[in-house]
């Protein structure tokens, strides 16, 4: 096989930049559909023995003065049950009890399937802590990769990670799907996958370099990517198969998480081949400080 992955890097970079810019545009215009984990609020899902219309539910809500402006009443996304979901500001335990009591007085078999209440401060804190952890982790990874490989490999690997995260965040801004903590878990998973995927190709580059079989750095990179291609394809195939299955058949609670993984794994596979490795050549040519001593 003879394909110039590295030489055509401007094309791949352009494709990615366009996708990321579109994502950032949507992020800027509409932002992300932040769920209660980030913004605070209550999400309560009720199950009934009989069909209850949204209007009937709203009437009860108004009866206990909880029909605030931001309150959203919608059918539950669970199948096979008569369910209604309420999203509103963060309710106190008293208010929540009052609502349940009022519903019980009106309808039969009222059960709280779930009730999540988050006050805004804690969601913010979660995000900041995770971000801080990622910055520290990035620094240590730069050190580790610089020791095991070379500094430029560290920067290329992190660029690929950043690429994948931006693609996924952009995708969620585009489809405007509600995100909560499972989305954060998904992003973390993607970061792990992306690094894993990229390091394996870098390992091949490192190994091939020792043999000095290639006439220049570009050829070394191309040959290494191609040698690793069967693995990249087979690994993505199996993991995507698994994730798609869980996405299609898993419970509603993990749908968003699985969608995050699905998009992220695509981006991760793409970036390790088309972004991380070709970017090594860009660094080699453009940033003398990070150039290999013997290429």
């Amino acid at each position: 096989m003879n394909f110039d992955f590295v030489g055509n890097r401007k094309i791949w970079f352009t494709v990615s930049i366009v996708l990321i810019v579109v994502g950032i545009l949507f992020l800027g215009i509409r932002g992300l559909n932040l769920g209660i984990d980030f913004q605070g609020g209550s999400l309560i899902e009720f199950k009934f023995d009989e069909r209850v219309s949204l209007d009937e539910f709203r009437n009860v809500l108004a009866g206990v003065d909880l029909d605030d402006e931001g309150a959203v009443v919608q059918p539950s996304d669970q199948e096979d049950i008569y369910g209604i979901m309420l999203r509103t500001r963060a309710l106190t335990p008293e208010e929540s009890q009052e609502l349940t009591a009022a519903l019980r007085a009106e309808f039969a078999g009222v059960e709280q399937l779930r009730a999540d209440t988050v006050w805004p401060t804690i969601g913010e804190e979660l995000t900041w802590r995770a971000l801080l952890a990622l910055v520290v982790a990035s620094l240590i990874i730069i050190v580790y990769i610089s020791i095991r490989f070379e500094p430029k490999y560290a920067f290329a690997a992190l660029l690929a990670v950043l690429h994948d995260v931006l693609i996924v965040v952009g995708f969620f801004a585009l489809v405007f799907r509600e995100i909560n903590t499972p989305f954060v878990a998904g992003l973390l998973t993607i970061i792990g996958y992306s690094i894993n995927d990229t390091i394996v190709i870098f390992d091949r580059i490192r190994e091939n370099k020792k043999f000095k079989r290639h006439k220049d750095y570009k050829e070394l990179l191309n040959a290494s990517i191609i040698a690793n291609l069967p693995r990249s394809i087979n690994t993505s195939l199996t993991t995507l198969l698994c994730v798609t299955t869980i996405f299609l058949f898993g419970g509603v609670t993990i749908k968003t998480f699985m969608l995050t993984l699905l998009v992220g794994f695509f981006a991760g596979t793409y970036s390790s081949i088309f972004i991380a490795s070709p970017f090594l050549l860009t660094i080699e040519e453009k940033i003398p400080a990070l150039r290999s001593k013997e290429a």
Binding site: I122, L126, A130, A133, L188, F202
Partner: protein, 403 residues
Amino acid sequence: MGWKQKQILKAILVIFVIAISVASFWHSGINLGLDLAGGTHVVLEAQDTGSREVDAQTMTALNRIIERRVNQLGLSEPRIQRSGDRRLIVELPAVDNPDRAIEVIGRTAQLTFRDDDGEVLMTGEHLVDARSEYDQMYRNPVINFQLDDVGARRFQQITQAMIGEPMQIYLDDEWLYTGTVESAISDRGQIRGFGSLEEAEEIAILLREGALPVPLSIEESRTVGPTLGQVSIDQSLRAGALGLLFVGIAMVALYKLPGLIATLTLGIYGMLVIGLLAGLQAVLTLPGIAGLILSIGMAVDANIIIFERIKEELRFGKTLRASVESGFRRAMTAIIDANITTLITALILAYFTVGTVRGFAVTLIIGIFASMFCALIITRILIDFAYDFKVLKGGHNFVGARR
């Protein structure tokens, strides 16, 4: 050591790993998080007051009082843990009325005796006991309380001066009862006016176990009802099993016998992770499952890297034995570097974060160790077995390798 002994030793190692895992699971079981099993999770934050700043001592006192309250409420297997400098996490599996439980647990519960103008005369700090009972005369639910010596002396003075006047009793800002002082009261008093004995008992618990030294605010509460917990477990387990089955089928289709071996290894990986989770008493949550999925992906990837390397070596014209040998050796650096980098991320996340993200990081760490062990040791042993028993053949088994 002869060939035979080596084989036996390897077989023993594999069986040992499986046996230990199964035994550990059998012994401790898996702790499912509340998001999977159902239950209530509350994060409470201590608030500074004008007179008291939150410190370690305050937190210990809070922890102790909350624990006693939870136990007195008769809730099964509560878990209370400190989180950071000023937070407590309370987890209650399956409660009838979670909102009520949250309310009772997080309440400051400062008892005050006030005069008609609302002026505080005395607080409940001198209370030593409080019991809910039916009043002897009227059969109404009441709380009988008892004061210590200092409290009794002060209460005597106060009530002496108030004979014939009304006295109000408040719990925090909630009015409980107003009674006319009939005579001076010293160490024993009664609070009346409760709607039910349950209501009286709840407040008696709060009084008995004492007020919180500082108020708590509820930062987060999550309740998953038993129905939803079960539905999401069932559905997700089924989907997960189906996903793994497809991975197995894909591996066999791609790599024939070695693919089957990889699938077998994945099975052992699954048992090992479950055994480790049970042995370490880790709590498995939804984000935890995310960590496991990533580590499964990495375990599959490791096997694919190894098999592709062996195929390459075969293409160079090496013998099967030599190809397996150098294939494993060459795949090793890639697998180790990739896993260590991910491990670094997971360790730092586990250190810096709490709750959701930490759950992810902890299972990922467990998963990475299990997946490295399986890919580098178990797969190797099984491939060697297959070779030694002459079922592993070059070109045939490794499709794509030039014969």
